[in-house]
Amino acid sequence: MPPTENVRSLVEQNIKDNPVMVFSKTTCGFCSKVKSLFDELKVTYKALEINQLENSAEVQSVLLEVSGQQTVPNVYIKGRHLGGCDATFKAHSEGLLLKMIEAPSSTHEYEYDLIVIGGGSGGLAASKRASELGKKVAVCDFVQPTPKGVSWGLGGTCVNVGCIPKKLMHQASMLGKSIEDAKSFGWQLTSEPVKNKWEGMVEAVQNYIGSLNWGYRVQLREKKVNYVNAYAKFEDQHTITTVNRRGKETKMTADKFIVAVGERPRYPDIPGAKEHCITSDDLFSLPYCPGKTLVIGASYVALECAGFLKGIGLDVTVMVRSIFLRGFDQQMADKAAGYMEKEGVQFLRRCVPVKIEQVEAGEPGLLRVTGKMTENGEEVTGDYNTVILAIGRDSVTKTIGLDKINVQVSKNGKVPVNDYDQTNVENIFCIGDNGEGKPELTPVAIHAGRLLSERLYGGSTLKCDYEGVPTTVFTPLEYSCCGLSEEAAIAKYGEDNLEVYHTNVWPLEWSVPGHDNNTCYVKAITNKLDSERVIGLHYLGPNAGEVMQGFAAAMKCGITKAQLDQTIGIHPTTAELFTTLNVTKRSGAAIDQSGC
């Protein structure tokens, strides 16, 4: 028998009228647990003991309809379904339960409390957290196809065309190296050369990305965030227009907005760039092997792509205008690039592209690249199957109507924000790659997004600390660092006030295959004015990211050189060298390794 309207309105009225509502049975142990928890927390709640009602079965079937949950206890907070006993205790253990109950109710008349523009690392983190804290949230995410027509699913740059595919392809290339090394360790490989099949690698990587896209969509549903797959633009301070794939326009309103639209690759203004070249946005899903490749640029994206393409067996050249890895420690940058050169990546230095022409169409086709040497203006040409542009990325903030609502945007597209990630317009916030002067990294965007929502809706005052963020460049020889580069440290404290300790490193796993013993290198920069506190740590060697993460925590705690020295190493590792650094750069003493 279908439930009567009376029963339905009984359930709905109870949910509406009681900020904390528990549908319960007097006979149920889990119900008692939940009620005791609320008693303990001194929270006023209403419990409807449905086993004492005549029509308890009907009530339960209405509950299934409205909440998707038939069992008791069935808990609602401020009209939103929380779940049963487990969900209630989970929310409590995460410190969310009281926040949800105590958060002030909305006083505005907009459709949403919060709309997040951009469903990438930062936007997803912020929207999920805000919804967990009881707010009504929507996130708009839309990918503009590349000039080659490539687009992708939910999750932003990192998941689709950034960290994830690039690290997996880096891993593919490192495995090639391991296969080579394996022979020195007694592995007998069949005689034919071992080769990587591009299509196989791309399919595996894209499959994994597909499952991540799906995972994000499911999470948004679970957390009751409304996912709108459409391009958003501001109309006024509380209104956006969204345009979906089919061109359908919808207006949406909210009390507050977070801008997290990320960046896209920059194209140089030269003939043939957009027509013939690809970028990292196309590379990771390229349906055919790129073949002989020219990478233009010396950013970490350029060097990483060049590195893994070389590692899987392609002929790779990098065209570099001036320095490698701008903003990074230049000694380390030169060493990372130097290793690539030793491994067979060709560098065309002090050269800029002038034009790109198609010689032959095809997949891949053949392109003729004309470059100009910056020193003498001499022209150089070369033929490549694929040209990858990696000269930088620009924030895509200029086409979303920020000017209409007077949000200040810098020339380069970055948005100035205060310590609370707030723009000059009080209800508009900005996180992730768009924030001016912020490290452009996924964990930074996620951390900032979570903390922002907790400040907005969870009564928190904690600001995101953008200092001391560790990072890794996944070049063939990985480079990781935390804190200041040597250049930045000198500029900040003066050379005389620093002590720089360093050494070459010969990883044990390099010894048997006979790799060079003076290629890997570590360096610690300390501030003599402040108990030799470690202000910059640099590591060039295998597993760099895994090594640096723990040291980054130590640096957050303010580790000094003396404390580093008192730390006992793990043997045999390369990271242990950080605990025994005793040669200063100033001394000029030898740091060569010859094995022990």
Partner: protein
Amino acid sequence: MKEIKVQGFDEFMSAVVSPDIKDKIIICLFTGDKDENGKSWCPDCVTSEPIVRKSLELIKDDDSFVFVYCSVGGRAFWKDKSNPFRTNDKLKLNGVPTLMKWGFPNEKLVEDQISADVIPILFE
């Protein structure tokens, strides 16, 4: 929406390729077998089934959908990691209950994800 009940891997595979449904959107629920008394070895499957059925009402009048209810087998068969439901590339199931759209092995709903809030994502 038509419903088809199948038992075991072979029946499932022949059902989803049958010509009369191959152009439809096939929503599949994989669940543990019930014994002759209607009792299942998989308590989570029992919890999920009414939730799934409730959500299916959203598409009950839509003929572009087909619902395939698949009993995967007994507990011992299921726990064997080499059973075809787990190893077949088009399925790669990790657990029961699983709700998925045929042809999208990366897009599954499992355990708590099988909820009234989430299930409609499969109908989009």
